[in-house]
């Protein structure tokens, strides 16, 4: 597989992942710097066209970080997010983008280590998929 640095957008719920990312930063552990963060009040706020827009802007991968099941501050936000993401993934596949470019993770606000693991592993999986076929040439 060709080596390239993918563009990745990570949508983060500010009640969990956004905080975990922050702690990871404070720990100075380092994570792939090509991950661009987008702060959301809740993963349930994430809209399908935000994900599509990220791909249009040239993202090679989109990660969504939500709270653990049954632990959403807003009760059902993460459930709504997971359903929307499932729907978006199938849409991506139908329009010729690998659905693996869209990934969904559960994270609590203290799980900075899990965040690091997720982005490292996610980064690798996007790398192995190669650059997004829609990248502006």
């Amino acid at each position: 597989m060709m080596d390239f640095t993918p563009h990745i957008v990570a949508f983060c719920c500010e009640n969990s992942a956004y905080r975990a990312v922050d702690i990871a930063g404070a720990k100075q552990e380092g994570y792939p710097s090509n991950i661009q963060l987008c702060r959301l009040p809740c993963s349930g706020k994430l809209e399908i066209n935000h994900i599509l827009r990220a791909f249009e802007e040239g993202a090679d991968g989109v990660f969504v970080f939500a709270c653990h099941p049954d632990s959403c501050k807003f009760l059902k936000g993460n459930v709504r997010a997971s359903k929307r993401i499932e729907h978006t993934a199938s849409l991506l596949e139908k329009i010729g983008l690998e659905k693996e470019r869209l990934r969904f993770f559960h994270l609590s606000e203290l799980e900075w280590a899990a965040f690091l693991e997720a982005v490292r592993q996610g980064n690798e999986s996007i790398k192995s998929l190669g650059p997004s076929p829609i990248k502006v040439r």
Partner: protein, 569 residues
């Protein structure tokens, strides 16, 4: 972007940290060239008092109307900077933070990417600030009272402490009366505390206080939000509404014989730990009959632990306490069978040592050889193989058989009946074992996911008496922080454009906080969905759902989100 927008960018060098990572001159230069930016300034320590004063002056001088702070994590000083904005007369949401410390400097391992990422973060923040809209503030009267659900030790103590803080408590209890006959389920950690006496004295204290106690009363419905919850209470079928500023759940937990032996035949000689505790207090004679007889034969009492789970703290504490009491009062031979005894907690190591010193025998059994219990003609036989008991290296451990006069089994601790209903009424979360779930077990152990609703005591799971009292103290402070003032300022974070609203009711159905109403928007206007500001928690789920794009979360607009999706810098 609005042409009226003038963005001021303020760099914080964080002492000298930033200079260690970035070529600040290049960044400042870059910032100055982003469209919409009217001024760029630098400071060594923005978060210091002098730094903040400097910021205030600079904002006023530069005439900017949007502020981007380039520095550390928004979790650290976002609120502080928002305050500064308010002080200079800007809306607190006209702020964006470009977190290049936790978000860049300390992240990038490859030096060559540092500047690119920093520019990216900076340009996103500037765009985001450019699209910022003012968030309207709504003042709300506060009701300086609190509803405490469940008059156990926790609930009573809670009500008493709140009253001391000047918050009027209403204490409700499902049972017809609060008495020491119906003891709550909680565990003292040492022999020094007699929880029943403690409870009795609390009941007396309660009677002497002005706390409003409503027995045979349950919570039916809750509306509203912190500062003003409208609660429907049901007292023996009669409903009444009360308005309280905060709600504290202290419903406790229940216990029953759990584990493998839950189905053993009924016998007076087989009891659960909590039953044994009750017998000490109320049925001493029965115990005496079982454990003291004329024949001078040694009497045996045997505890079996580790059936429900490998280790539950409350069961261990209770077993140690009761074992010591049996030993002291009846001179019985007392044995504790367990997979493991762990005694982490205040004074627990001492309790264990005390038990050993008094001659309580501890047997260990392994997962693969669980103790067997049989009951024949009233005789209880317990047999187990302790891996530590073998006479010879080569020889296998010999089984131990105990004929016991009293068998004590573990309690399974489970959430109080009705917890599910209460969860639904309060719209809070339960954890995987069905107990109320704290917002964050380490950082916010007593907060629920909803502002103004708290949990205390064993409704959250196992608690010993110290932990329970700690809960009470921290919740009391939490309630006080909300209700000490006269009013509460709420922010209207979500806006519905009724012209675009198709009245599809999707938001009404999907809002987890019931913060949407549909009706007359105002005199002479058409119907539309509206946000109930007091109930809105600002999650934006309705925005995600609205098919007409009629709902906007003011500082998470499409444009602002798109600001963070482009790759440049």
């Amino acid at each position: 972007m609005d042409s009226q927008v003038k963005i001021g960018i303020f760099f914080c060098a964080c002492g000298h940290i930033m200079n260690d990572y970035f070529d600040m001159k290049v960044l400042v230069d870059y910032a100055g060239r982003i469209s919409g930016v009217s001024s760029v300034d630098e400071n060594r320590f923005l978060c210091t008092r002098s730094g903040l004063d400097w910021l205030k002056t600079k904002i006023s001088q530069s005439g900017c109307n949007r502020v981007v702070i380039v520095g550390c994590s928004p979790y650290l000083y976002e609120q502080t900077f928002m305050k500064v904005l308010e002080e200079v007369g800007l809306n607190r949401y006209f702020l964006a933070i470009a977190n290049i410390r936790e978000g860049c400097a300390w992240v990038c391992q490859e030096k060559e990417n540092l500047m690119t990422r920093a520019k990216q973060i900076l340009s996103s923040a500037v765009k985001r600030a450019g699209f910022a809209k003012p968030v309207e503030k709504v003042q709300k009267e506060i009701n300086q009272s609190a509803l405490v659900i469940g008059a156990g030790l926790t609930g009573i103590q809670m009500a008493l402490e709140l009253q001391q803080l000047g918050i009027r408590p209403i204490l409700i209890e499902k049972k017809p009366q609060v008495s020491r006959k119906n003891p709550p389920f909680f565990i003292p950690t040492t022999q020094k505390i007699n929880e029943r006496e403690m409870f009795s004295s609390k009941i007396r204290e309660l009677r002497d206080s002005e706390v409003e106690l409503l027995t045979s009363t349950e919570l039916k419905k809750v509306a509203g939000t912190v500062g003003s919850f409208q609660v429907i209470l049901d007292t023996l079928g009669k409903e009444r509404e009360v308005v309280v500023g905060s709600i504290i759940v202290s419903t406790g937990s229940e216990s029953k014989v759990g584990g493998r032996f839950a189905d053993l035949p009924n016998s007076r000689r087989i009891v659960s730990l909590s039953e044994l505790k009750d017998m000490f207090d109320f049925e001493r004679r029965t115990l005496e009959r079982m454990l003291i007889t004329a024949d001078k034969r040694t009497k045996y009492a045997c505890f079996v632990l580790g059936e429900c789970e490998a280790y539950t703290k409350t069961n261990t504490i209770m077993a140690l306490n009761e074992a010591i009491k049996l030993k002291e009062k009846f001179k019985a031979e007392v044995m504790i069978l367990a997979k493991d005894i762990s005694v982490s907690g205040i004074e627990l190591e001492a309790l264990y040592r005390q038990a050993r010193e008094r001659g309580v025998l501890f047997y260990r059994y392994a997962e693969e050889s669980l103790p067997e219990i049989s009951l024949e003609k009233g005789v209880i036989t317990v047999s187990l193989t302790d891996p530590a008991l073998h006479t010879d290296q080569a020889e296998k451990s010999r089984p131990v058989t105990i004929q016991s006069d009293l068998l004590i089994l573990e309690d399974e601790i489970y959430p109080h009946e009705g917890t599910d209903l209460l969860r639904d009424a309060l719209q809070v979360n339960l954890n995987e074992w069905g107990f109320f779930q704290e917002k964050n077990i380490h950082l916010k152990p007593n907060l629920s996911n909803k502002k103004g609703i708290f949990f205390a005591g064993s409704c959250q799971g196992e608690r010993d008496i110290y932990e329970t009292l700690n809960d009470v103290r921290s919740v009391a402070m939490g309630v006080y922080s909300y209700l000490s003032g006269k009013s509460l300022v709420l922010e209207k974070k979500v806006e519905i454009n009724t012209d675009k609203c198709a009245l599809c009711l999707t938001c009404l159905r999907s809002c987890p906080h019931k913060a949407i109403k549909v009706g007359d928007v105002g005199a002479g206007q058409k119907w539309g969905a509206q946000v109930i500001v007091e109930a809105c928690q600002g999650c934006g789920i309705c925005v995600g759902e609205c098919p007409a794009k009629a709902i906007e979360m003011i500082n998470y607009s499409d444009n602002q989100i798109f600001s963070e999706l482009s790759f440049e810098g």
